[in-house]
Symmetry: D2
Subunit: 474 residues, 4 copies
C-alpha cells in the first residue's frame, strides 16, 4: 500500500519483418501500468512508407481507458513506442502526456522518457534564449528540441541523440523513434531501468522485463548504464561512449523495494528474491514472538513471506482487498470515514482473532494508513500487532523522478521510531537497516539518497531560471 509514486514506464518495438506492432505496444503498456496511471500513449510508424509518417494517440487515463479498440484499429506500423505516466514534473494535463511526437529536419521524431533531469531549466533556458517556443512543460520536449538542433549538423540521428545525452544530467530511460530507427538510452548512473528483448525478428525495449514477457519476447539483457542502443534494418548497435562519463553506478533502490513488478528481473536481480530477502532481514533484525505473519496487500505480501520463511512464524492473509475501488471511487467524507474504514481493505476476523500478528509493509509515509490497519486488526481481536517495514525511513527528497512527499508530510522526518510506533498504535516497529539495502538489492550499487541524503551527482540550483509559464488547456 505504498504511497510513493513512480513516474513512468517506456516501451519501444521495431519488427524487422514488417509486422504490425500496435497491439504489442498496447500489451506492453498494460504490463507497465503499475509505473504510471495518470496518462498514456503510443506512436507508430511504417518504416516502409514515406518518411515522417506517424500516427499517435495519448490522453489522461489508464491504458484500458485511453487506448480503445476503435482507436488502435486506426493505427498500424512496424515501429513504435509507448509511455505510461505519473507526473512528477509538468502539469497533470493531457498535453503533457507522452510520447511526444514532432516534425523536425529529418521527418518525424517521437520520444518517451522515464525519469527526471536535474538540469532541464538550464537546457530549456539555452533554447528559449535563442528563440525557441514550447508547447508543453515536460523534460521530453526539451530533450527533443536538443536532438533536433544536433541533428542539423550530425550525420545520423543516433549521433544527435548521443550529443544531446552528453548534456543531460539526471535520471533517464529514453526511447526515441526516428523515421527508420528505434533508439534506447539509459543514464550513465543507471538510475532508471531499461532492457532489451527479442521476439522472432522484432526487437523490444522496455522499462521492465515483465513487459517483454507480456508480448512473448525473450529477455536478452539490460541496457547498460550510459549505453545507447540503436535498432535499424542493419540490426542492433550498441554505443558505450556515454558510459565512461561517470565512474559511479547508482540504481534506484526503490525499484526493488516497491516500484518494479514482482515478476520482473532488473539489472540481474529478481525483484521477488529481493523482496523475500528484505523480509528475511527484518526477521533477523527485529525478531518477535508471534502467531501469524501477514502483509499489507499487495505491496507488503512478498516481504511478509520472507519474514515468515526466516522466522518460522506461519504466513497468512489477514485482509480482503476490494479490487473494485477504482480511480473514480468517491471517497467517504470525514464523518462517513469514522464508520466506514473497511471499504478498500477489510479484516478477515476468522484469521486474526486471538493472535499475535506481524504486519509487514514496504514503507510508511504519513502513517495514517498503517494506523488504520492496526486499529482494524485489534478491533477484530488481534492481541498484538508488530509492524515491520521493508525500507528505512524516508528523510530526503528525490530529484530523479520519485514523488516523495515533502518533509512536513513525512512522519519519519518529524518523529523518532519510538514515537511513530506509539502514534500508529503498534506493539513494536522495525524499519529495514539502511546498511542492508545493498544486500537486499543483490549487491548492486544503488542510489539510496531518499534515505541517507547522499546523491550520486551534484544537483544544480535552477531557481533563478523562470521558463515554465502557466499555460493551461482547460
Amino acid at each position: 500500500m505504498a504511497e510513493i509514486k513512480e513516474e513512468c514506464g517506456v516501451f519501444g518495438i521495431y519488427d524487422l519483418d514488417g509486422n504490425d506492432v500496435t497491439s504489442s505496444i498496447y500489451y506492453g503498456l498494460t504490463s507497465l501500468q503499475h509505473r504510471g496511471q495518470e496518462a498514456c500513449g503510443l506512436a507508430v510508424s511504417d518504416t516502409k512508407g514515406p518518411i515522417g509518417n506517424v500516427k499517435f494517440h495519448k490522453d489522461l487515463g489508464l491504458v484500458s481507458e485511453v487506448l480503445r479498440e476503435d482507436t488502435l484499429h486506426k493505427m498500424s506500423g512496424d515501429i513504435g513506442i509507448g509511455h505510461v505516466r505519473y507526473s512528477t514534473t509538468g502539469a497533470s494535463v493531457a498535453e503533457n502526456a507522452q510520447p511526444l511526437v514532432l516534425s523536425y529536419v529529418k521527418g518525424s521524431l517521437a520520444l518517451a522518457h522515464n525519469g527526471n533531469l536535474v538540469n532541464t531549466g538550464t537546457l530549456k533556458w539555452e533554447l528559449i534564449q535563442s528563440g525557441a517556443v514550447f508547447h508543453t512543460t515536460t523534460d521530453s520536449e526539451v530533450i527533443a528540441f536538443h536532438v533536433a538542433r544536433e541533428r542539423v549538423h550530425t550525420t545520423c540521428v543516433e549521433e544527435a541523440v548521443l550529443n544531446t545525452a552528453r548534456k543531460l544530467q539526471g535520471a533517464y530511460g529514453l526511447v526515441i523513434m526516428s523515421p527508420r530507427k528505434l533508439i534506447g538510452v539509459r543514464d550513465p548512473y543507471g538510475l532508471k531501468p531499461l532492457c532489451l528483448g527479442k521476439r522472432d525478428n522484432a526487437y523490444v525495449l522496455a522499462s521492465e522485463s515483465c513487459a517483454l514477457t507480456s508480448v512473448g519476447a525473450e529477455f536478452i539483457r539490460d541496457i547498460e548504464p550510459g549505453e545507447m542502443i540503436t535498432i535499424s534494418r542493419k540490426g542492433v548497435k550498441s554505443d558505450m561512449t556515454l558510459a565512461d562519463t561517470v565512474k559511479k553506478r547508482a540504481h534506484c533502490v526503490f525499484e526493488y523495494i516497491y516500484f518494479a513488478r514482482l515478476d520482473s528481473t532488473m539489472d540481474g536481480v529478481k525483484v521477488y528474491d529481493a523482496r523475500i530477502r528484505g523480509g528475511k532481514s527484518l526477521a533477523k533484525s527485529y525478531p518477535v514472538e508471534a502467531d501469524l505473519v501477514t502483509g499489507v496487500p499487495e505491496s507488503g505480501l512478498p516481504a511478509a513471506k520472507g519474514f515468515s520463511e526466516e522466522s518460522g512464524i506461519p504466513f497468512g492473509f489477514a485482509f480482503y482487498k476490494n479490487s473494485y475501488i477504482g480511480r473514480t471511487f468517491i471517497k467517504p467524507t470525514q464523518k462517513e470515514r469514522e464508520s466506514s474504514v473497511h471499504l478498500k481493505l477489510s479484516v478477515l476476523d476468522a484469521v486474526v482473532k486471538g493472535k499475535r500478528i506481524v504486519l509487514v509493509d514496504d514503507s510508511i509515509v504519513r502513517g495514517t494508513t498503517i494506523a488504520n490497519l492496526i486499529r482494524m486488526l485489534k478491533e477484530a481481536g488481534a492481541l498484538e500487532v508488530h509492524v515491520r517495514i521493508s525500507s528505512p525511513p524516508f528523510l530526503h527528497p528525490c530529484y530523479f523522478g520519485t514523488d516523495v512527499p515533502s518533509n512536513d508530510q513525512l512522519i519519519a522526518a518529524q518523529h523518532s521510531t519510538e514515537e511513530i510506533c506509539k502514534m500508529i498504535g503498534a506493539d513494536s516497529l522495525g524499519y529495514m537497516e539502511i546498511d542492508y539495502l545493498e544486500g537486499m538489492a543483490g549487491g548492486l550499487p544503488i542510489c539510496k539518497a531518499c534515505f541517507d541524503g547522499k546523491y550520486p551527482m551534484v544537483i544544480p540550483d535552477e531557481n533563478n531560471l523562470q521558463n515554465d509559464f502557466e499555460i493551461h488547456k482547460i
Copy 2:
C-alpha cells in the same frame, strides 16, 4: 479464477433518524460489486416528503462508472435500495438494470431482486392475459406487477408482498421500497442470502455481511429462509408465514465455494473458514508429495492455504496478477495469444523453478484456463503440477440464478477425471468429494443440484408460454 457467474446483489437502508442514505448505498454496492459487474443502480426517497417521490439512477457498468459524484449529489433521502447485476435472465440491456422503479396505486414502488424464479413465465402469462404491459424482460417487473395488483385489495404493502411471495417459485433475496417502508424477503429454501444490520438508528438489508461492515453497520442476523422483514417508523417487524410453506432448506453451496466475499459470514458460517476447510479436505482426500502449495489468484488462494495447513507443504505465491486488466481490455487474437499468455497472470519463476507444485482452484469449467497455467508453470521450471479443485465437477444446469455453461461447454460433462487430468497436462487431479460439501458449508442444509442434479423443488416446464418478445433499445 472462477468462470461461473453470480447473478446479483441487493442492498437496502432506512435511516429512522432521517439522515441521507445515498452514499451508504454507494458504499454498500461497492462492497457487493463481486456479485455483479454488468449493471447497477440505486433509488432513494424521503419518507418525510410527499408520497411517492423517488429519485433513481441505473445503467450498464460498474458502480464506479455508473454512480458518479455529480449523479449522487442530485439524490438524497432517508430510505433507499440498490442493486448490482449480472444478467442470467433478461437481455443485457440498460432497461433491465435495477432497481425497478414504478408508480402504483399507493405511490411509488422500488424493487431489487437477487435470484431467479422458475415460474416467471406462468406469473407473467397470468398478468399479460388480463391486459398488462411490460417494459422489461426481468423477473422483477413481474414481481412488482403482482405486488401492485395485490395492493389494491390489501390493507398494507407488506400484506401485498406476502401474497405475492406465496406465488413465487424459485430463488430470491428481495428488497422493496414503498413510500414509507423498507421490506426484505428471502425465499423459503434460503437459496439466496439476505442479512440485517444496524448503524445507529438506521437499518440495513444486504445480500452479504461484508456490505454491512462497509457502511459501518453492525451485523444483527441473517434473514431466515421464508422470512419477511418490514422496517418502518415503528421499527423492525418479522413475518414467518412463508417459512412454513416448505419443509426443506437448501442454501446455495456455491456461495461458500466461490460467490460470497471472503470476509462475509452467511447463515452463521464464515466464508473464509469454509474455504480453508475445503482446502483441508482436498489434502486429506488427495495427498501428494510436493514442495509448494499455491492457488490460482484470487479465488484459489484460501483453499490453497487450507491445503497447506493440512498437508504441511509450504504455501507460496506462484503467480503475479495484473490488476489493470479491466473490462475494456482488448483481448489478444488467437495468433497473439500464442506468444502472449502472460498478460493477466504471469509466473514468478524464482518461486516455482525446480519445485513440485500443488495448484488449487475453486472450479474447472472449460479447462482451458487451468491448462494454460499448468503449461506456464512447467515452462518456468516446475517439475510437477498437481491440481486440486475445491468443488465437485459441474454436471447439471442451475435454475436459480447461477450461470453454469451448457453441458457441451463443461469439460466434466464430457470427460472422466483421468481424461481431464491428461487434457490439462496435470500430473494428478483431484476434485472435492461431493459428500464433503455439507461439511465444508459448516453442516448447513445446501442446494448442490449443479453437482448431483437433485433440485430442492420441481422445476415447471414453461416452454409453451411465449411472453418475452425481443424488444431491444439500441
Copy 3:
C-alpha cells in the same frame, strides 16, 4: 419568433414490399423537427420476422443528435414509427421520450402520440385502481395500457385501438405499430393533424404533409377527424365509427398561424396561403403609411409578405439572423445583455435608416422580444415602427397540447392593446381580428379557444386524482 411551443410530431411507415424503412423515418422526423426539439425516437420491426421483435432508440435531443449513423445501422425493418417531442405533460426526462415500446398479450406494441388528453387522470385512475404499474408519466403509456386490456377480449388490434379511442377525450394524432399492422387515429374534433401518403408500395402516416414530401411519398389525403386507418398486408382500411361520436370539428388554428411548416398543406389548406391571407387581413384592418414592410425572422416573414402585397408597401429584410445560436448557446447575463442585444438578430441598418417600417410577427407573448426589436430598429435609424400581429391576443389556456404561458406572463391578459403599444415602444399596434381566423384558415371549422375561451368540449376537473408521483431518473 413565436414563444408558443407545439408538443409533438408523429410519423409511421409500412413498406409492403419489405424494404427497410429506418432511414425514411429519420428523414421524416427531420422534417417534423419544428414540432418538437426536446426529444425524439423511432421503433422498427420486421413483419416477416418473429412476432414481437422490435428495435428502438430514443433520447433527449434533436434528431441529428439522438439518431446517429451508428445507431441507425443497428436497426432495420419494413414497418416503423417515430416521434419528435416537446413536453407539455410528463416531465422533461429521457424516459418520457417516445415512441413507447411495450410487450403485451399479442407481442409488441409501439405508440407515438401528438396532442394532449383531458381525461388522462381518470383513465389512469381506472388502471391503477385495478393494480396497474406505470414507468412514465405520459398520456401514451395510459393509452397503450388501455389498448392492451382491450386486446385481451377483442379479435384484432384495430378493434382494441378503437375501443380505447372511444374512451379518450382531448386532442390526439396517434400512430401505433403492432407486430403486423400500422394504425393511425385522429381525434374526432380533428384538433391534431394527421395525413396519409404513399411511395411505391409503402404507406406513410405523418403529422404534416412536408414529412411525406421529404421521403419522396405522394400526399394521398388527410386522415379525417375521428378516422382510424389500418395499414396491413391487405392494404389500407378506413374506419369512421369514431367520427360520428361528435358533431363538431375544431382544427387547431395555431397550426396555420405558426406551428405547421410553411410548405405543408393541412386539411386542404396550404399553410403558406393562410399566412399570406393573415398578412393581407392585417393590411386591410390596420392600414398605415410606411416605406418598408418586414417580418420577424422566420415566423413573421410570410405574413409580412402578405401585408406588402395587400398594401403595396415594398417588402424587405430588416434583420440578419445568426443561425449558429444553438440550443446550447450560453445566454448573456443581464449586464452583458444591455450591451449585446444583437446576438441572435441584428439590424441591417443600410435597409432601415430613415424609413417608416411595418414590423409583422405571428404573436406577442411577454412582449420583451418585440420591444427589443423595435428599439434596435429605432437605434438603427428607423423613423417609425408599426407593429402588426397575425393572431389575436392570447387570453386563455390551451388544454390540448399547446404550451401557452400562464396568464400572469401573458402581456395581453394584463394590458390593453394601447398599453401594450406604448410598453413595447411601437408607433402603432394591430392584432388580427378574431373574426378573421376562420377566413385565414380557409374557412375550416377551427378551435380558437386560446383567444376566445370557447372550448370544443367540456374539460373534466381531475384535480382530485393523484396518480402522477415524482419519479425521476437522475
Copy 4:
C-alpha cells in the same frame, strides 16, 4: 448555398479596466461562426497577474459545441483572443485548431490567424534547418516561431511582430496576445479584413464589424492594409511601416459576394449594399420577362432583392429551408436521394405554380445543387426558370485562403455558359460581368484572381521543400 469555404475568423479584446473578457470572446466568435465551422478556440490571460499565465481551450466543432458553460467558467482574464477555423492548410485535426498558445523567452504568446501565406514552406524551411521542432502543420506555428526568434534581439514584442511580418508573403489578418499587449496586423494588400472597435475602456479587434456589434462595441475603423495596431496600458498605437512595402491594395472580392455577414461593413463598404448592387447589375445585364424573383436561401436572397428592385419584378420566397439539417445530418444514399430531394430545401408550390421565375444565387461550383433546385421548381409548376449568378465564373485557384475546388470539379472551367445553362436545365443563365466587380465592391481595389487569374503578388514555387510530415493524432 455557396460551396466555397472561407478559412477563418479572428477576435481579440483587451479591457483596460480589468473586466473579464471571456464571454465577450464567446459572443464575438458566435458572430464570426459563418467564417469557419470546423474548429474554434480562445485564450485569455490576466495582465495584472504573473507574466505568462494563460488559459485556453480549443477543439474541433462549433462554438456552441466546443465552448460550453463549464469550460468558460474555468477561464477569466482582461485580455484574450479567439478563432474560428475552416481548414485550408494543415490537416483537419484538433491540434491544428487555434489560437496557438506557446511559451517563449518573454512568457506566453497566443496567436490567431485568418488567411494563407504563400511562403510558409520557405519560412518553415529556414527554421527547421536550424533545428526547430513543430507540433502542428499550421502557418500560425511558423509565424509564432519567427516572432519568438525575433523577440530575442528586439526591445518589444511589437518590434518582433513587425520584423516577422516583413517576411510574410500572402494574406493575413493576425491577432497576437503577449503577456501585456494585444496586437493586430493586416497584410499590406488588405486581402484579409480586420477592424477595431471600442466598448467603454475595452478595445476589440475582429475580422468583421458584426462581431463588434455583437459585444456591444462601437466600430472605430478598419485596420489599414499593412497596419499594425498595438493595444497596451498606454492605449492604442498604430504602425504603418509595413504598409509602404507594397503599392497595390487588393481586398478579397469574395468577402462582398459571399463570405462576410450581411450586416457587416468592410473597408467602408456595407456588405448588404454591395449584394443589392450585384443583383441590380444582373437585372441590367440580363433582363428577362418574369413573374417572380427569388433567391437560393440564404446566400442568394439579397442579390435577388436587388434584381427585383431594378427590374420591378416582384420578390418572393420559393423555398422553405429546414434549419435542423445540422453538421451531423446523415446524408441519403444515391437511391434514397432520387426520391428525397426535398430534405434541406423544399419548394413552396403555392408560390411558384404557373410562374416564370428568376432564380438568383451567389455562385455555381459543380452545378448539381442549382440543377436540383431548377428541377424542383419545374416539378412544382414553374413555367420558366431563369438563373442569375451574382459572381463571374470561377476559373483559377486561390492561394490566399479561399477553398475553391480544383478545375476538374469546376463546371465553368469545363463548359461554356450556354452548355452550363443546358446542363442545369435553366431557361437562361447569366453570370455577373467581371468588369462590374469593382462597382459591386463600392469602387474598392480588389483581388479577383479566382475569376481572372491576375494575382496581386508573385506566388513562390515551394514544391521542392518537404517540411510537412504526416503526423496524425488519432
